[in-house]
């Protein structure tokens, strides 16, 4: 086969593995992790523009003219596979109909996320942002290599050769060749380190609608998700997990479980007891028959309402100052009017459609293969290697399509991958093991969006301008206690907890933000848009309250405070204009609300049109305006914002994970019901034209939905609902 050269995993890079200290238990990993999830910062980040062209790592051209783009990220639905391929294919001048994709192996030297330092992983809406220059250069370099090969063969000057849609031409001699015909010769050409990139006017794919490359396979049943992998002689494992976080196995009786037809073995592992069976059904039946006793001496036994009540008390004490300017307290003291509000947020489960699962097997030579919807490859590889007593280069990762994630598949502990490795090890690796979490395991398995409490006081002068803003927040940090703590938690402040509030773009003359890091046994994690899931609600609802107190239009009030945030202002103006902001509502009980928020370097404003009153709420229409820099694929940008609305709406309306004496109460879609078709509002998405480097849109549509709806409910009813999910029970008729 002719090809430019297949990327090969680099053992050198894998051995580096970024572990300091010995390869101890997963919990002891210390990882040098740089996290620059704010794409805006990325524009000037030297790592992105200085990256060297490496076409061999990212593109393979075959004799049949197919162009295969290596995808270093997980595609959990956000469409980055198509977007990443678009960037490379445009610079290459490839024929889009010949473009294919393949998920890259674990190799942090070639495939690290340039915004995560030495880590290969997907998150923080960085896939497009960090790859932009890397893939443009790779495509442009491959194009120059094809042209150089043609020039050599045709004995003409490279400068007289043109490339269009997978065909290389020399007009003077009339010669032409398809990419596939030139691929072998091109592979022998030197790799240009700084290839010439196209002027934006020459882009043919970037900025256009290109159909998703995964649409066909995902509509005929042929796409292989993590749950669909089938290895020879594979067995399925289902694990009995403790009912409370922090509990461990005290003992178990597996006599009845072993009697269940199809059950092969029962093994104890650090996280519970695994039932290994010929298929999923037998494993589930075997687990039902298993009797386990738990040691709950270290378990979390509090109820979630008790935890939240403790937060409310904690907020009365001074916290760690995360940001401060001016004298907020003095500003409030001298104010003409003082407003105060509290906001509370429940634990949320990611509840991706595909429950967590992974397949692991040992090869004849003692190395290992893992198949799953892998999102944090470097961490997953290192964690599995530590458990299996080997080195990371002996653990090959095969990334498959993921049925959603919303952050859940990227855990600093690589929890479910670690569990799969532990089962394989405990069982003696007699066959490939497919670990399957049921829906109930997935929902009750922790790693939730933290429960959070915000308390805000602010003063207004006689004209309605802010004189001071005092903000206290309580929540469990995602990073503290993780391998990233040393790198990412500064003076007790975890940026992923306070983002979107401590760094507010509002020009407040005096601002003080304090945070308390709660300690509890419930594992928490990033959930699509991370800290912004709660900070945007607190900030954007409270700003709305200030606007109403000042008797100023909420859009105008925000714009006056956003003098240093031109891109957010522009998005806000566009959303307001497209929504018909300020027009009288067509009927009683119907109104609009607005919110604007920056996250991950993208700027999103939303106007919600709702009908509310008498204990009910219907979201009729959402108009969004987004600035993501250059929209590589505008239709996918729109789809992500439409999807963000559908995803987040149920967390506005009803979703919450509650604990009763430490036991999770909502374990399936009956008690934790995602948004349904009949509830979906009409969503219109407008893209702010931009020449800036692309940022991301997987997450930024989420934060603004809740405050836009909350503010619309106030406009419609005069009643201010702040806590999520919105408690509609007290909503009066209008």
């Amino acid at each position: 086969m002719l090809k430019i050269r297949q990327p090969t995993p680099s053992p050198r890079a894998s051995r580096r593995a970024f572990l300091t200290g010995s390869a101890a238990a997963a919990g002891a990993l210390v990882i040098g992790f740089r996290l620059d999830l704010r794409g805006a910062r990325a524009e000037g980040a030297p790592a992105l523009s200085a990256v060297k062209a490496n076409p061999n790592a990212f593109v393979r051209i075959a004799a049949d003219d197919t162009v295969t783009v290596m995808i270093k990220h997980l595609d959990m639905g956000q469409g980055n596979t198509t977007g990443l391929a678009t960037i490379l294919a445009d610079e290459l001048d490839a024929d889009w109909s010949k473009v294919r994709t393949e998920f890259a192996p674990a190799d942090a030297a070639l495939y690290n996320n340039l915004l995560m330092g030495p880590i290969q992983g997907t998150g923080g809406s960085t896939a497009i942002a960090n790859s932009w220059m890397q893939l443009r250069k790779a495509g442009a370099a491959a194009r120059e290599m094809l042209v150089a090969a043609a020039a050599l063969d045709w004995k003409v000057q490279a400068s007289q050769i043109t490339v269009e849609s997978g065909v290389v031409r020399h007009a003077g001699s009339g010669r032409e060749a398809r990419f596939g015909e030139l691929a072998a010769a091109a592979a022998a050409m030197p790799v240009p380190q700084e290839p010439r990139l196209k002027d934006p006017s020459q882009w043919r794919l970037i900025g256009q609608k290109a159909l998703r490359l995964d649409s066909v396979a995902k509509t005929n049943g042929s796409a292989i998700y993590s749950l669909d992998i089938r290895r020879p002689n594979q067995v399925t494992a289902v694990v009995a997990h403790p009912p409370r976080f922090g509990a461990t196995v005290k003992g178990f009786d597996d006599k009845a479980a072993r009697q269940v037809a199809g059950v092969i073995d029962v093994v104890a592992i650090p996280t519970g007891v695994a039932v290994i069976a010929r298929d999923t059904w037998a494993a589930m039946k075997g687990r039902e028959a298993l009797k386990v006793t738990w040691d709950e001496s270290l378990a979390e036994t509090r109820s979630s309402d008790v935890i939240l009540a403790e937060y409310r008390e904690t907020a009365k004490r001074p916290g760690i100052v995360a940001s401060q300017r001016g004298d907020a307290e003095a500003g409030i003291k001298g104010a003409a009017k003082v407003l105060e509000a509290e906001f509370s947020f429940p634990y949320l489960a990611h509840a991706a459609m595909e429950p967590l699962n992974a397949t692991i097997e040992r090869a004849a030579d003692g190395s290992y293969d893992i198949y799953a919807g892998l999102q944090f490859q470097t961490i997953e590889q290192a964690t599995a290697a530590a458990i299996l007593g080997t080195t990371p280069d002996k653990v090959r990762l095969h990334t498959l399509w993921a049925g959603g994630s919303f952050g859940r598949r990227a855990t600093p502990s690589a929890d479910y991958i670690a569990e799969a490795a532990a089962i394989l090890k405990a069982w003696g690796a007699k066959a490939p093991v497919h670990l399957v979490w049921t829906r109930e395991d997935d929902m009750a398995g922790g790693y939730y969006r933290p429960t959070v409490y915000h308390k805000i006081r602010a003063g207004l002068d006689a004209k309605g301008s802010v004189t001071g803003w005092q903000h206290v927040m309580v929540g469990k940090s995602i990073m503290i206690g993780s391998p990233f703590e040393a790198m990412l938690v500064k003076n007790g402040v975890d940026g992923t907890t306070v983002e979107g509030a401590s760094d507010t773009p509002y020009a407040l003359p005096a601002y003080r933000f304090e945070v308390h890091n709660a300690r509890e046994g419930v594992p928490v994690l990033w959930w699509r848009s991370v800290g912004h899931t709660h900070t945007a609600q607190a900030m954007e609802v409270f700003v709305d309250e200030l606007a109403h107190a000042a008797q100023v239009d909420p859009v105008a009030y925000r714009l006056a405070l956003l003098t240093n945030a031109p891109r957010l202002s522009a998005a806000l103006k566009l959303a307001a204009e497209k929504a018909g902001w300020g027009k009288a509502a067509p009927e009683k009980g119907r109104a609009m609300g607005v919110a604007a928020h920056e996250s991950f370097g993208s700027y999103v404003a939303m106007v919600a049109d709702v009908t509310a009153g008498s204990g009910s709420l219907k979201v009729n229409r959402i108009v969004a305006a987004v600035d993501v820099g250059i929209a590589v694929n505008p239709d996918i940008v729109r789809a992500q914002v439409e999807g963000a609305v559908g995803f987040a709406l149920s967390s506005v309306l009803r979703n919450r994970v509650t604990l009763k004496d430490g036991v999770v109460q909502e374990t399936n879609f009956d008690a934790y019901e995602p948004t349904r078709l009949t509830e979906m509002p009409v969503v219109e998405v407008h893209i702010v034209p931009s020449q800036a480097a692309p940022t991301g849109i997987g997450e930024p549509g989420v934060p603004v939905l809740a405050p836009a709806i909350s503010n619309a409910v106030f406009a419609a009813t005069g009643q201010r609902l702040r806590a999520l999910p919105l408690d509609l029970s007290g909503l009066k008729g209008v």
Partner: protein, 151 residues
């Protein structure tokens, strides 16, 4: 031993009659296009056709299937199926795509009996299918698009 007809082919399956059709299809017959989402008929990801009618395979015991013809996403064919899959692709409905086998099976079921569904008809037929990525706006549009192409 049960005889199951799946996508026109007869298979012999040795299993407990209580075993849900979902797991027979996925783990015994390697028909992995049909997905597991909740196991309690709340999400519709496991939707297949039994004699042309959409059913939740997670709640269908193989002991109850009898001689019924089972069709999965891998085996759909004909004008309606082509119209639905074509519309899904034209409008780029999918995101993660995990629920879409079930959505498409429900949509084919709807359009097979109701070639010009209203929004209310779509609500009735598809409200049992959860899409966590929130692709509902495009699902609705794709069903209307498929109906237009069948007209």
């Amino acid at each position: 031993m049960f005889k199951l007809t799946v996508n026109g082919t007869t298979h012999e399956v040795d299993a407990d009659p209580d075993m849900p059709l979902l797991w027979v299809l996925r783990d015994r017959l390697d028909k992995t296009g049909t997905k597991y989402g909740c196991g309690i008929a709340q999400c519709g990801a496991c939707t297949v056709h039994l004699d042309g009618q959409p059913v939740r395979s997670c709640q269908t015991r193989i002991g109850d299937v009898g001689t019924g013809a089972i069709t999965t996403i891998e085996g759909v064919s004909g004008r309606v199926a082509e119209a639905v899959q074509g519309a899904w692709r034209k409008l780029d409905v999918v995101q993660c795509g995990y629920c879409q086998s079930g959505q498409i099976m429900s949509a084919i079921g709807l359009l097979s009996t109701n070639p010009k569904p209203s929004d209310a008809d779509i609500d009735g037929a598809l409200d049992g299918n959860i899409c966590r990525c929130g692709t509902y706006q495009r699902i609705r549009a794709a069903i209307h698009e498929a109906a237009r192409s069948l007209a």
